[in-house]
Amino acid sequence: MSVAACPGCASGDPGFAERAVADVPTHHLVLPAIHCAGCISGVEKTLRAQPGIRAARVNLTQKRAAITAQPGADPSPWILALSRAGFEAFEAHEPAARKSDDLLLPLGVAGFAMMNVMLLSVAVWSGAVDTTRDFLHWVSAAIALPATAYAAQPFFRHAWGALKVGRVNMDVPISLAILLACGMSIYEVIHSGPHAWFDAALSLTFFLLVGRVLDQRLRRRARSAADDLAALEPHRAQRLVGRDKLSTPIEDIKVGDRLWIAAGDRIPVDAHLVSATAKMDRSFLTGESDPVLRQEGEALFAGEVALTGPMEIKATAVGEETTLRRIAQLIATSEGARGQYRSIADRAAELYTPMVHIVSFAAFLGWWLLSGDLRMAINVAIATLIITCPCALGLAVPAVAVAATSKLYREGLLLTSDTALERLAQVETVIFDKTGTLTTRALDVPHGLTRAEEGVLRSLAEASRHPICIALAARLGDGAPAASLSDLAEEAGDGVRARWEGQIVRLGRRAPEDPTTVFSIGSRSITLDAQEAPLARAKEAVAALSQMGLRTAMLTGDTEANAHAMARDLGIGSVWSEVQAEGKVEIVKALSAEGTKVLMVGDGLNDTAALAAADISIAPGSALDASRSAADIIIVSGDMSRISVAIKTARIARRRMEENIAISTIYNVIAVPIAVIGLASPLAAAIAMSTSSITVVLNALRGLRP
């Protein structure tokens, strides 16, 4: 193999282009459940054994697999193979290119330059004089100037962006401090002055970049996780060509195409029904939990779920033209209360920035007028600017945000907005949508079973990891004694079977095509009816919130009787029933106007506008795309008991942010007078900068470590 140091030289290697093409992944799969080394090797071995796959590599951080195969190949067989091996997988789009905005390289450059310059500075501080000091200063300058010119660019760019539109942000004093520190140091070095501030300029850059890198990585992870949720939605539909079913990407479906929909599938486009009748679950759109019956020729909307099937439909509107997308776009253009929210960091910056500039300008004027020494006055002013140390302030909020958001990420909560944490801490009223958020269609416990048989049902349900079974097991509860089953086996997607007292017992679909759930003992089989029931931990979630002193309320499009019964069951204080999408927005807005901070939790299209209007909003991972993008926080698992955890974490985080800002203010209160009377030296600046930054980071970790 020939070694090519630069990409330009590589063109001399004839095999290069081919190899590059072979290594580029053609397909990406999202694997939401992988979590360990065993999963990595299981997924990779399964994929590599598939015909047509040349290479497969799992990324555990992103919970994705990158596959190299023939471009355009249908990944369905691979997904099937993975599900047989026990790994849920979904087709995903290629992750967005991201190298361009990477801050790691500037961080590395600033870090290594800082270390070298610090070493040289130690020599100066320990007593180097005359030519030796000048020599050390010149070497420092040679390292520091190119390093800051490169590494501090992100700050210069942001500051310039703000100044251009006549605003001031945190990056303005940062950029000014870096530029002035470098400029003054050059002047001092040329004139053999005693102090050079290159180390200060570099450590300022380095510490602030640490904050930015943490922030950026976190946001990228939240964004890619949120994108991956979109992958869980169907990408393909079964298009009918004559009698054949063709797996077709949804983007490629055209008006007039006939589609084959299985029971349990979501309708991908607006369509009308070709089959005779169908029962549809429309709760995503209307909030009403009762299924609706559709006849031949009647309209079906994208987003509805087929309860019966299979059926044939004919597309009438696709892509951006579907009712779902049009409503989603309307909502996206309306702006909610959060537009007015100003983050703690912004407010601190607005107070801090003019203050620093006024103080250092006053120091300059004072020294100039009193001593008449211009160089001395400029020195003091710049020392003040450097030592006021925006670096602790720059780290104060991101350090806490990173700690808290990582903790929440591990709890299965994705924060998609920058200020979500701060707004969540202020919540006073929690409003829930009913269907899909607190309740789900669950299996009813059949009548006429003996206690022993109920026990069998419970043990079977507990053996499955399917959410509907977990809910059933919870409903059966302790009333049914656990039965001892043998030969327990889960049939992927179809149910669980086992042996009990010599008979085969089974819980699952009647047939692969028929979603009706049956419980069979030997030859006897009992149909389980689906009914609306609270989600597994909904009651716990509401109780935890009430215990924290928060007001809870329910907002639903369902009938008054249904809503009140469910609210009583769950322990929710107030109920608004039979409200449509506009009504939900009105109620949320009215509550906000009363001055209480409202958290809206919902998943359907009819909640989306209310989600956008509330002070802060949460959607479960199963929510529609439009609702997820309107929400600030996504609960991946849909477990609502995470909400109280999130609010508690957010409250701690907010307290830490305020403490951190107080700490950096205290450092300034001590440092500024010292700098103004002209006693600040580069050594003092270095000590103040490092200690304040480290204190702030350590404080951020208190109570927020996972």
Partner: protein
């Protein structure tokens, strides 16, 4: 103080070496999947 003429370039070369090493780790995508790499050490080697 003549020793500085040797020591300062030495420290510069060492620092530059570390920086080049860091750039290499960046270019070869070693920060893309830190959790995965931590887990992979538990896997048995397989020829690729």
């Amino acid at each position: 103080m003549n020793i500085l003429v040797i020591l300062v370039p030495c420290s510069l070369i060492l620092g530059l070496g570390a920086l080049v090493g860091f750039i290499w780790t960046l270019k070869s995508n070693q920060y893309d999947d830190m959790e995965g790499d931590a887990a992979r050490i538990l896997l048995e080697d397989e020829e690729e």
